[in-house]
Amino acid sequence: MELVTSVLAIAVFAGASLVYAAVGEIVTERAGVLNLGVEGMMIMGAVTAFAAAVASGNAMVGVVVGGVVGGIMALVHAFATITLRADQVVSGLALTLAGGGLASFLGQRLGPGGAPLVGMVGPRFHGVPIPWLSDLPVVGPALFDQDVLVYLLFLVVPAVWFFVARTRPGLALRAVGESPQTADAMGIGVYRVRYLATVFGGVLAGIAGAHLSLAYTPGWTEHLTGGRGWIAIALVIFATWDPRRAVLGALLFGGVNAIQFRLQAEGTTIPASLLNMMPYLLTIVVLVVITRFEALRHRLGAPAALGLAYDREERT
C-alpha cells in the first residue's frame, strides 16, 4: 500500500508538466494546427521562468514569464504556418531546435549580473498539503499534497474540456480543425481561432516548463525537459485529443517515471531505456487501433484538417 501511495504521488508530480503541455497542444491541434515545437517552448519556458523567479525572488512571477515566453514562441509558429502557410511540421521542428539552443544560451547569461543559471538555487514551489484531504489514504498525498501548479490543473483541465465540448467558441474551434472551409463559410474567423488556439497551447507549454524548473527539478540544467515535450505530443494522440484522457495518460507516463525510480532503487535488471520507450509504444498501439475502425476514427481520430494550412482562395 505504501508503495502504491508513493508511486501515485510521484506519478502526479511528474505528470503535471505533461498535462499542461498536452492539454495546450490538444487545444492547438483541435484548431488544425500541429505544433511540434512543444519541447522547444517548454525548455524556453523553463529557463526564462527560473531566471525570472531568481531575479524577482518570486516563483509565481517565473510562471507568468514562462507562460508569456511560450506564448510568444507559439505566435512565431502561428505566423509562419497560418499567415505564411509554411509547413507545420518544419516550423514546429525549427521551434524545438531553436528553443533548445536558445535556452542553453540564455542559461549562461540570465543569472544575476549576467552570470550562468546553472547550479543556482532560486525560489521554488513547495508542496502545500491541504488539511484533512491530504490525510486520505492512497489518493491523499497524490492529489492533495502537491504544489500550486498541480492544484491549478484541477481547474484548467475541466475548464478546457468544458470549453471545447460544450461552448459556442469551443464548437467553432472544433469546426476549424475539422473543416476550415465550412467554418469559413459559416462566418467563423478561421485565422483568428487558429492564432488563439496556437498561442494558448504555447502558454501552457511555457507553464509546463516552469513547473519543471520551479517545482519538479528546481533549478536550471541543460536539457532540463529531457524530451517531455515529445512525450506530451505522443500523449495528445494517446488521449485522442480529449483533455480528460490526457490526464490519465500523463499519470500513466508519469507513473512509468515513478516506477523506474522504485525499480532502480531495488536493483532491477530491466534497463531504464526500455521503460522510457513505453509511452511511445502505447501511443503507436492507440494510433493503430483508432485508424483501424471507421467509427472510432470519426469519434476519436485526429482533427481532419490537422497539419493543413487554410487558404480561402484555394480550390479543392
Binding site: 459556442r168 464548437l171 473543416s179 463559410a185 467563423i188 470519426h298
Partner: protein, 524 residues
C-alpha cells in the same frame, strides 16, 4: 402565374441589376440582370463558365461586384439597395446559400452543424434545445433527419437536407442552391424538389443553379439563361421547352440525342466473375459482381456515387486486386496482375479524378501524354528518354484529339477541364490502339468522362466513345447522368451497395426504373 396571394407577399424578393464582375482574364458577369419574386422557384441555367456561380457568389457575399446594384425586397413590394460584404451580411438580409460541395463538419452532429457560426447562441450551448428546434423545422417541411446523428453517418441526400435546414434555421427567406441535385438519385432529387415547392408555397424565394434541362423544366416556375457571362433570356417555364432552352444555353442548335448505329457486339473481352472487393474500411464494396463487356459494346454502369463504382473501375484496370473472383481480359485470367499487365493487354482507363489520377498537374502536357508510351521505343532509348520524340508524340495526340493547349510544355493543370479530359482520352485511346495493333482486343474503362464539362466538350467525349465502340473496343462507361447512360449504352448495369441490381437495355427501361434500382428498391 397565380402563386401570389396564398403567402401574402408581393413583388420581388431580390433584384440584381447590371452586375459586372471580372477576374484576371475573364469577364465572368457582364451586366447581368436577375429578378426573383417571392414564392417562386427561379432556375439559373447555363453551361459551365456561363457565370452562374459567380453571380450567386455575389448574391451570397463571397464576391463583390465591380459594377451594378443589388436590391432586396420587403413583403409589400418595396425594394431597397444593399451591399453584401460577406456571407454573414447575406444571412442578415435573409439570403441563405446551399453550396454544391456541402459545407458540413463530418464529425459533428446535425444540430452542431446547424448552429455553427450562429451569432446569438449562448456561450454555453444547449444542444438538446437546438436538436428540438431543428427537428421541429424538419418535421414542418417533412424532411426527416435525426438532429443527433453525426454527419458522416448520413447519406448524401440527408446531408443536403441538413444544408437546407442550416439556411432556414438562420432565417433565410431567399434560398440559393448550387446544383442541388448533382449528387442525388432521381428519387432523392424528387424529394428535394418537393421541399423546394413547399418552401416556395410558404412565400420564400428559391433560386437554383443548374445545367440540367430536365430539372429546370420540372421544378422551376421561371428560368433565367446565362451564356458567356451575359443574360440571354428570362421566361416562364410554361412558355418554353427543353429544346428551346438548350439552344439559348449553348447559343446554337444542339443534338439532344446522338445518332448511334446499332451495336455489333463481338466476343466478350472484359469479364468479371464473382468479384468481391473489400474497401479500405474492410467493408464489402463489391459483392460477387459478374459482368461481361463485349467488343464493340458500351456497357453503362449506373448508380449513386459510392456504391462500388470506384472499386469496379479499379478492379477492371488492375489497380486493385479482388479479394475473391476473377478478372478475365480477352480470355486471359489477369486476376492479381499489375496495372501494366492490364495495359499491355489493351485495357485503357479514363479515371474519375482527372487531376488526381489522370494527370500529374504540375508536369508538362507532353510528359502526361507520354505516360503510357515512355517505356517503349521510340520514346525510350534504353534507360533514357528522348524528349524531342516525346514532344512530337504529344503533339500528334494534341492535334488528333483537338486538345486546346498552348503547347506540349504547358503544365497540365493549366488546361480547362474539357481539354484535360480530351488529353486523357487521347492518351488512353492511343494506348489501346497499340494493344490492338499487337493483336489484343482493346478495353476502355471510362469513369464519369463528361463530369463537369461544358456541352461542347461533352459532345466531343461522347463522340470519341462511340468511335471506339464502332472500332470494336469494349467500353465500360461509369456515369451518374442517367440521360447519358440511356443515350450511350447498349446495356446498363445498375450498382447498389456493391451489387449488380440488374442489367437492362436502354430501350426497355425508364429513368424511374433505373432510379428504383439505384436506390436498391428494385431488381431485374
Amino acid at each position: 402565374m397565380s402563386r401570389t396571394g396564398s403567402h401574402g407577399r408581393r413583388g420581388l424578393a431580390v433584384a440584381l441589376r447590371g452586375i459586372t464582375k471580372s477576374f484576371p482574364g475573364v469577364l465572368a458577369n457582364d451586366h447581368v440582370d436577375l429578378e426573383v419574386r417571392w414564392g417562386e422557384i427561379h432556375a439559373l441555367l447555363g453551361e459551365n463558365g456561363a457565370g452562374k456561380s459567380t453571380l450567386m457568389s455575389i448574391l451570397s457575399g463571397l464576391y463583390q461586384p465591380d459594377e451594378g446594384e443589388i436590391l432586396v425586397g420587403d413583403d409589400e413590394g418595396g425594394l431597397r439597395p444593399v451591399t453584401i460584404t460577406s456571407p454573414r451580411a447575406a444571412i442578415h438580409l435573409g439570403i441563405g446559400m446551399v453550396h454544391q460541395h456541402f459545407k458540413l463538419v463530418p464529425t459533428q452532429t446535425v444540430a452542431e452543424n446547424v448552429i455553427l457560426g450562429v451569432e446569438d447562441m449562448p456561450f454555453v450551448l444547449d444542444l438538446d434545445a437546438v436538436a428540438r428546434d431543428v427537428a421541429e423545422i424538419a418535421d414542418r417541411l417533412r424532411m426527416p433527419v435525426d438532429p443527433t446523428a453525426p454527419i458522416w453517418q448520413l447519406s448524401v441526400g440527408e446531408q443536403q437536407r441538413v444544408e437546407i435546414l442550416k439556411a432556414l434555421y438562420r432565417g433565410a427567406e431567399i434560398l440559393v442552391l448550387d446544383e442541388p441535385t448533382a449528387v442525388l438519385t432521381p428519387q432523392e432529387a424528387d424529394e428535394v424538389a418537393a421541399i423546394l415547392r413547399s418552401l416556395a408555397a410558404e412565400g420564400k424565394a428559391i433560386v437554383f443553379i443548374s445545367h440540367k434541362l430536365d430539372e429546370v423544366v420540372e421544378i422551376a416556375d421561371r428560368v433565367t439563361v446565362l451564356r458567356k457571362g451575359r443574360n440571354v433570356a428570362t421566361m416562364d417555364v410554361a412558355d418554353t421547352d427543353k429544346h428551346r432552352l438548350a439552344e439559348l444555353m449553348v447559343g446554337r442548335e444542339v443534338a439532344t440525342t446522338i445518332p448511334k448505329p446499332p451495336a455489333e457486339p463481338g466476343p466478350t473481352v472484359l469479364a468479371l466473375e464473382g468479384v468481391v472487393v473489400r474497401n479500405e474500411r474492410g467493408l464489402v464494396a463489391l459483392d460477387h459482381v459478374d459482368l461481361e463487356v463485349a467488343a464493340g459494346e458500351i456497357l453503362g454502369i449506373a448508380g449513386v456515387a459510392g456504391n462500388g463504382q470506384r472499386e469496379l473501375t479499379e478492379v477492371a484496370t488492375g489497380l486493385r486486386r479482388p479479394d475473391a473472383g476473377r478478372v478475365v481480359v480477352d480470355g486471359k485470367d489477369l486476376t492479381g496482375a499489375s496495372p501494366v499487365a492490364f495495359l499491355d493487354r489493351g485495357v485503357a482507363h479514363v479515371p474519375a479524378d482527372r487531376l488526381g489520377r489522370g494527370l500529374a498537374g504540375n508536369l508538362p502536357l507532353a510528359d502526361n501524354l507520354a505516360m503510357r508510351a515512355y517505356r517503349h521505343p521510340p520514346i525510350a532509348v534504353g534507360p533514357a528518354i528522348r524528349r524531342d520524340r516525346m514532344r512530337a508524340f504529344a503533339e500528334t495526340i494534341i492535334e488528333r484529339f483537338r486538345v486546346d493547349a498552348p503547347g506540349p510544355d504547358t503544365p497540365a493543370r493549366n488546361l480547362s477541364g474539357g481539354n484535360q479530359q480530351k488529353a486523357i482520352l487521347g492518351r488512353e485511346i492511343t494506348a489501346g490502339s497499340w494493344a490492338a495493333a499487337r493483336g489484343h482486343r482493346p478495353v476502355l474503362v471510362a469513369a464519369y468522362p463528361t463530369r463537369g464539362l461544358d456541352v461542347g466538350a461533352i459532345e466531343h467525349v461522347r463522340a470519341r466513345l462511340l468511335e471506339q465502340r464502332a472500332a470494336g473496343t469494349a467500353v465500360l462507361l461509369v456515369s451518374e447522368e442517367l440521360d447519358e447512360l440511356l443515350m450511350m449504352s447498349d446495356r446498363i448495369a445498375v450498382l447498389h451497395g456493391g451489387r449488380i441490381m440488374g442489367v437492362v437495355t436502354p430501350e426497355e427501361t425508364t429513368i424511374e426504373e433505373l432510379g428504383l434500382m439505384m436506390a436498391g428498391e428494385a431488381h431485374r
